[in-house]
Structures are given as structure tokens and as C-alpha cells.
Symmetry: C2
Subunit: 346 residues, 2 copies
């Protein structure tokens, strides 16, 4: 990308409570556990809500503050050289104050540029892309990115099942998981850091229906409120693998690369089944796919950080990681190319 | 700021329907018109909702697309050299798709980086600050910023008044207005453009209560939903003038400037009364204050663009404009220093 380089020195993630199995979830929403696995390929997830009592244990700003604290501990136990924080989420606690500012308040972090962008599956890459510009501008040297999702608090696990007769609604209980992840991003290399070779993101303007819609409500009761989340699952199943293939092909040709065992793929996150479909379509070897979606559900804005953490842990110096996110809300495509190790590893 | 410069070549704004007077509003919410003017100093506003029928005439993405179209017309009738669009709002239509992506879809704009940040009164400056980094990075040359507010669709003008007995709730009907504004931002100077000399924004971490809260709801009915908007008006009245004074003082000293008739102030937007209090506190001459809040209400994310448009229209070459926004959600402070004319005007 020329000029200033960009490095990830730490990646941290956090999941709430215990893993909720398909058996537990299936009993709750009256859906066969075997069918959850067959249809979606998912077998676990973590929720912000206690599934026995309905009590909300953590909200979005709690999750942000947990990961912020972990990252700051890694940063010589200090936030004083952190210039900016960008959070991306589809499920903020309120519209205002933003959840990132609430988290800063909880931790006593002051005098810092904070931003909260709204995005779905591409949100974390949007945040990374904005951070790229900030570092490239030369005006700042170090920032923190946080991707967080806490959708479960808006769903009602304990209702009588009336609201969940619509498949588009049931899907939300099965696909998603709550979680948070983040990283420290810096223009200076540190030992064992990841180098960001490329980030890209755009609204592509596909002439298709909305694939995913996340709703919100005010106090006004005379509005026509549709369900909180809606998935056009069949449309997503058709389009996401195609867009991933396009993005992956152009990545290979632009970088003059071929699939090799020095390359790791972080595929789009929807469900375990979709990961299989996507990776088969681009003929990517199963051993080098980094995805947590099957065991923790789709954590949307947090998902990329779970993948980057895996890459951080398993890749050897000089190996490539390519993350692709496709957001089905209004069809956004985004990509990140990371390399284990810094310039010295090239 | 060194390196790449930054210019605003066009500013556009838009208000919905006709002006709603204090008399009309007062009758609707059972509040004396004279008291609205006395307490808040506001005498007009525009709503996205028809006050007679309750029908919602426009939503946030409609407003964004109106201003986007106007800006694109000014940009040689083309969006093809626009690299990015950043929207800021506290009242998106949905969480996903973002309202900016919906607006792009409506206009057929494709293959562009779109971002939607959530912010209150400081949102437009946050967007401008992010755009600064994008241009300074040298990776892009031209972008559009849009600030939009469409809060009225979430309030119920036609209910029996029960919800509006709480002053914190009534304040929302009186203070706010719907509106949209935007600008084209470029690293290249054009005739008559504004030069951005400085932009700054930060979360300051004041140890105070939340001044403003904007809520949202999911389908879950067993949550404790508080009112859509809440204002700690007394706290805001105390803190905003103080923070504005601090920011203005440091602006003057950092730039070695004194108040002169070549300087225009764009003060924080809450109400007409607050503008008076703020400007008296810093002893700024009334003739050089640019504010539309008294006649159009607080349009939050759109307000800065209404002020910049006034500056664009009234300032002479070489004159300074200083905009200060204080966001009372979690106490954010932000500032923009613009100059009429470009380098040649210095």
C-alpha cells in the first residue's frame, strides 16, 4: 500500500458464559437439534442472555470494555499511546451514547477519538479500512479496533413460540452468537505481529433484494414494526458463495498467487454449512480454513477477530491470510490480506 | 495540517415540508407556544411526519438520497469520481441495511466505499475528521459527507399526551427538527471553496451523567424500554457553555487569533436560547453568529451543514469560520476551523 505500514500486534476475543448446544437451543425454540446441524452446520453459540431465566448478563458496552481491557493489558498496561478506537457493531445498546463511549467511561479512558460504525458482516473490515487511512495519514500511530455483537438480548428465547413461527425469525436464534473481538493496530512493527498487506471494502450496488435486515424501534406504537432480524437465507446461499469466489479470484490474480499450504482462508461467516459450500466452490483445502462459525455461531462484527486470532496462533512466519466478508444487508464486499510476521518475513 | 489540503466545494441542505410554528406544535402537545419560545428560544422546525395525519412522509434514507442527488448534480452531474461517502446520524431507519446504503441503492450509485457512523451533535465533525484521514492518506481524492436526522418518525405527535407528561420526553418535541445536509470534500481546490484548516474530535471522559440518550427497541417485549429520547436539560445547560468556552479559548490561543469581524462562529446546537447563553459567555458579537437552530430546531447531525452553508454564503474570501460541537450523550467535544477561499486567499 506504499508509505506507512500497518501491523496488528495483539488480537483478543471473548465469549460469554457457557456454550449452548443444539440440544439446549432446540428444546428452547422447539426445533430438532439434528435439523439445526443438518441445515446450518452449527453446533454451538454463546448468548448474552441466560437461557434458563431470560436475564441479560452483559450488554454491548460490557463486551467492548472486556476486550478493551485485555488489549490495554497487552499494550504495556496502558491506553495512553492509543490515539483512536473504532468499534463496529450491528447491535449497539442504545443509539446514543454509543457503546464505545460507554465502554470508555466504564474503564476511565479519556481524551481519545472514538468512532462507532454500524455494519453487519463487513463492519470489522470497514473499521480496519478506516484505521488504514488514519495510520496512512501519518497523523496517528496506534489504535484499537473492536467488533462486537450482542444480538441475543433483543430476541425473546422464553416466549411461547408465536413470534418464531416465521422461518426468517427462527433463523436468527440458530445462526447467531454473541461475542466480541478486537486488535491493536499500529504503524510500528512488533515481534510476532501481523502485517496488513491490503484492506478493501465497498458497497457494490447489486440489484438484489436486501439479504439481511436488522430493525429497531422507538416509543411510537403506531409504526409498522417488522421482526427484529430478517434473513433471506436462500438468497444469501446463492449470492455469498459467488461473491466470495469473485473476490478470491481477483485476490489471487492481483497478487499473482496460487492456493498453497502457506495460505490460510478466513471465509465469510454465516453458518458452518455455508463455510463448507463457499470453500468447496473455490476449491480451498479444508486444513487451511480458519472459521469459528460452526462452534460459536455467526458473531458478525466480532467474527473477523476470532479468525485473525486463529491465524495469529497457527500461521508460520511469512504465511498469508486472506479474509473475505460479504455483507448481505445491501451486498457489501470486503477483503483483508494479512501476513504473519513483518517486513523481515517477506 | 501539513501535506494534502482539504476543501469543501459544495454544501447542500434540505428541510421537509412546511415550517411548524410554536402555535401549531403547542396545540399538538398541549404546551403554551409562548413558553416554548421563552424556555427554548425556538420558533420553528420541520418534521418527517405530517402533523395532521401522523403519516411519515420521508425516512432517513430518503433524506440522504435527496442531498446526495443535489451534491452529485453540483459535481458535474456525476458520482464516478466520488471515492467514499460517510454518513452520520443518530436516527437510522434500520440498523441494517444502513441508511446510506439504502440511499445509494435508490440512486443507483455503485462500487463505492460507504460508511455510517452513529453520533449525536458531534457526528458531522466525526465524519469530517474521518474524511480528513482518508484524504491525508493520499489513497482517495474526493468524498461526500452527509449528516441526517429524522427523529420525528419515532415520536408520536398524535397520542393522547400520556407519554409526554415527563418533561424529559416533552423536550424532544420542542427541541428537535428533521433535516439533512452534506458537502463534497476534496483534496483539490475549486473556485470559491472552503479550506478546512483544522478538524478535531474526542471523547473527553467527563465524570458526569449521560446528557442525552437515544433508545431503540427490538421485538423483545420483556425488556425495560425507557423513552426514545431523554435529555438532562439542566445538566446540558450547565456544561455545554463551559466546554464551548474552553474549546473556543484554546482555538484562539493555538491560532494566535482574537475575535474580529473577519471571524464567524458556528456554535453548538441545542436551542435558540442555548446559542444566546453560549455566545454571551464567550462574548462573541451577535452579528457574526451562524446558527439556524432557533428557526429549524436542533437537526443534530445535519446542523453543521446548515451552518457551513450560511458561512459559504455570507463570508468573504479569507475570513475564518469556527464551528464547535459539544455532544452531551457522553460528552464529546469537536471543532472545525474553515476559511473562505483556498490557499490563494491566505
Amino acid at each position: 500500500m506504499g508509505g506507512v505500514n500497518m501491523y496488528i500486534s495483539s488480537v483478543e476475543t471473548y465469549l460469554l458464559g457457557t456454550n449452548i448446544t443444539n440440544k439446549e437451543l432446540g428444546e428452547l425454540i422447539n426445533f430438532k437439534p439434528q435439523l439445526i446441524e443438518k441445515l446450518f452446520g452449527n453446533y454451538g453459540r454463546h448468548f448474552s442472555t441466560d437461557i434458563l431465566t431470560g436475564k441479560i448478563n452483559n450488554n454491548t458496552s460490557d463486551l467492548i470494555s472486556i476486550v478493551l481491557r485485555k488489549l490495554i493489558e497487552k499494550n504495556k498496561n496502558s491506553h495512553h499511546d492509543i490515539d483512536f478506537i473504532i468499534t463496529s457493531t450491528a447491535t449497539p445498546d442504545h443509539l446514543l451514547p454509543t457503546s464505545i463511549n460507554e465502554a470508555c467511561y466504564k474503564l476511565g479512558i479519556k481524551n481519545i477519538e472514538t468512532y462507532q460504525i454500524i455494519g453487519g458482516c463487513s463492519g470489522a473490515v470497514q473499521a480496519l479500512n478506516l484505521a488504514k487511512y488514519i495510520l496512512k495519514s501519518g497523523l496517528h500511530k496506534k489504535g484499537i479496533l473492536v467488533g462486537v455483537e450482542c444480538s441475543n438480548k433483543f430476541l425473546n428465547l422464553l416466549d411461547s413460540g408465536n413470534q418464531k413461527t416465521d422461518t426468517r425469525e427462527i433463523v436468527n436464534y440458530v445462526l447467531f452468537g454473541d461475542g466480541v473481538g478486537g486488535c491493536i493496530l499500529s504503524s510500528e512493527e512488533t515481534r510476532n505481529s501481523l502485517t496488513i498487506n491490503e484492506v478493501s471494502y465497498k458497497y457494490i450496488g447489486l440489484d438484489e433484494k436486501i439479504g439481511q435486515l436488522a430493525n429497531w424501534k422507538g416509543t411510537r406504537e403506531n409504526m409498522n414494526h417488522s421482526p427484529m432480524l430478517q434473513e433471506e437465507y436462500k438468497l444469501i446461499e446463492k449470492i455469498v458463495p459467488e461473491l466470495t469466489q469473485d473476490s478470491f479470484k481477483s485476490f489471487l490474480s492481483e497478487n499473482n498467487l496460487k492456493i498453497s499450504d502457506k495460505m490460510w482462508l478466513m471465509p465469510p461467516q454465516l453458518s458452518g454449512k455455508m463455510v463448507d459450500v463457499i470453500c468447496k466452490k473455490i476449491e480451498f483445502p479444508e486444513t487451511h480454513i480458519l472459521s469459528r462459525v460452526a462452534d460459536i455461531g455467526n458473531c458478525a462484527n466480532a467474527a473477523l477477530f476470532f479468525q485473525l486470532k486463529e491465524f495469529f496462533d497457527v500461521a508460520n512466519d511469512g504465511e498469508d491470510g486472506i479474509a473475505i466478508s460479504i455483507e448481505s444487508s445491501r451486498w457489501l464486499t470486503s477483503r483483508v490480506h494479512v501476513k504473519k510476521g513483518g517486513k523481515c518475513a517477506k
